[in-house]
Amino acid sequence: TVGCVVVDSEGRCAAATSTGGLMNKMTGRIGDSPLIGAGTYACDLCGVSCTGEGEAIIRGTLSRDVAAVMEYKGLGLQEAVDYVIQERLDEGKAGLIAVSRNGEVAYGFNCVGMFRGCATENGFMEVGIWE
């Protein structure tokens, strides 16, 4: 699975996710990536893209929950990401990346590693795999 989240200079957020799914999956199987609110979500507050155990991401409506806890609990972006990764996955393993309309970027994962890269207008840039 691959994904990208962006907030542009006008504060507009967007998210996109694309995948081949699981190796040896049944034909006809649909995972989290195409499901809006599960693998992909964007609103005026943030943009989110998820990857990992599709069934766990779907059951946890993971990407929408990041936006929801920002909206209803007033959490900041990284707090919202940490909360959702810790509280919404049950025993599932997943990771996600997110941006906020304020130009912040965040990510979180509860399994061994996630291929990710992030950058902001003020010059921050990071590419990583492990914790």
């Binding site: 699975t1 691959v2 994904g3 990208c4 989240v5 962006v6 907030v7 542009d8 200079s9 507009r12 957020c13 967007a14 998210a15 996109a16 694309s18 995948t19 081949g20 799914g21 699981l22 190796m23 999956k25 034909t27 006809g28 649909i30 990536s33 195409p34 809006i36 693998g39 992909t40 964007a42 943009g47 893209s49 990857t51 990992g52 155990e53 599709g54 069934e55 766990a56 025993e91 599932g92 990771g95 990346i97 997110a98 941006v99 130009g103 970027v105 994962f109 399994c111 061994v112 590693g113 996630m114 291929f115 990710r116 890269g117 992030c118 950058a119 207008e121 840039m125 590419v127 795999i129």
Partner: protein, 195 residues
């Protein structure tokens, strides 16, 4: 306004024994995609155009599990899916079950922009892609030697597992098929191997 920001991912759940050169390859691809997105943002492209542009680049490289290099079904074929969402107005588009569309994220974008729906799948989605003039390729374009090998191992292990690595059995990571009593939806959790 806080300025622009961008993040990309290539999948979660990485085999801790991933060879160093593969790790470097992955970092180079992620860096290339970040730089592609950054120069687009500096040219004032909108967020929705940038996410599509970057995911197309990731789909075209066989390294990660999407587009070319996608994981294989139990029948050795590729069935791809993608979605895109624009925070302005919360518009969205999604596709599933694609076998010939070269860049699934662009079909998801067309579903969002050019169709009355938000999700099209299988033959209907491919038909719409053809009507919209999207580039179509043979399913074999998406299949790589690595993944044929991976599928063989998945079948021998009789499990559904990682899309791009051969877990070393017995390794206690989420890449290995760890026999766990835990169930999800009535199935052993190991069936839901991370993508």
């Amino acid at each position: 306004m806080g300025g622009w920001a961008i993040a990309v991912h290539g999948g979660a759940g990485v085999d801790p024994n991933l060879p160093h050169e593969r790790q470097e390859e992955a970092k180079q691809l992620l860096t290339r995609c970040l730089n592609l997105g950054i120069s687009a943002l500096r040219s004032s492209l909108s967020a929705i155009d940038v996410v599509e542009l970057v995911v197309r680049e990731l789909e075209s490289d066989p390294l990660f599990n999407s587009g070319r290099g996608s994981a294989l079904t139990g029948k050795g074929t590729v069935e791809m899916e993608a979605s895109i969402m624009d925070g302005s107005g919360r518009r969205c588009g999604a596709v599933s079950g694609l076998t010939m569309v070269k860049n699934p994220v662009s079909l998801a974008r067309l579903v969002m922009d050019k169709s009355p729906h938000s999700y099209l799948a299988f033959s209907g989605a491919e038909e719409f892609g053809r009507q919209q003039g999207l580039e179509m390729v043979d399913n074999s374009y998406f299949i790589t030697e690595d993944n044929v090998e991976m599928l063989k191992l998945a079948k021998e292990a009789n499990t559904i597992m990682y899309d791009y690595r051969i877990p070393t059995v017995g390794l206690d990571t989420c890449s290995a098929v760890v026999e766990s009593p835990l169930q999800m939806n009535g199935l052993p959790i190991s069936v839901y191997a991370p993508e």
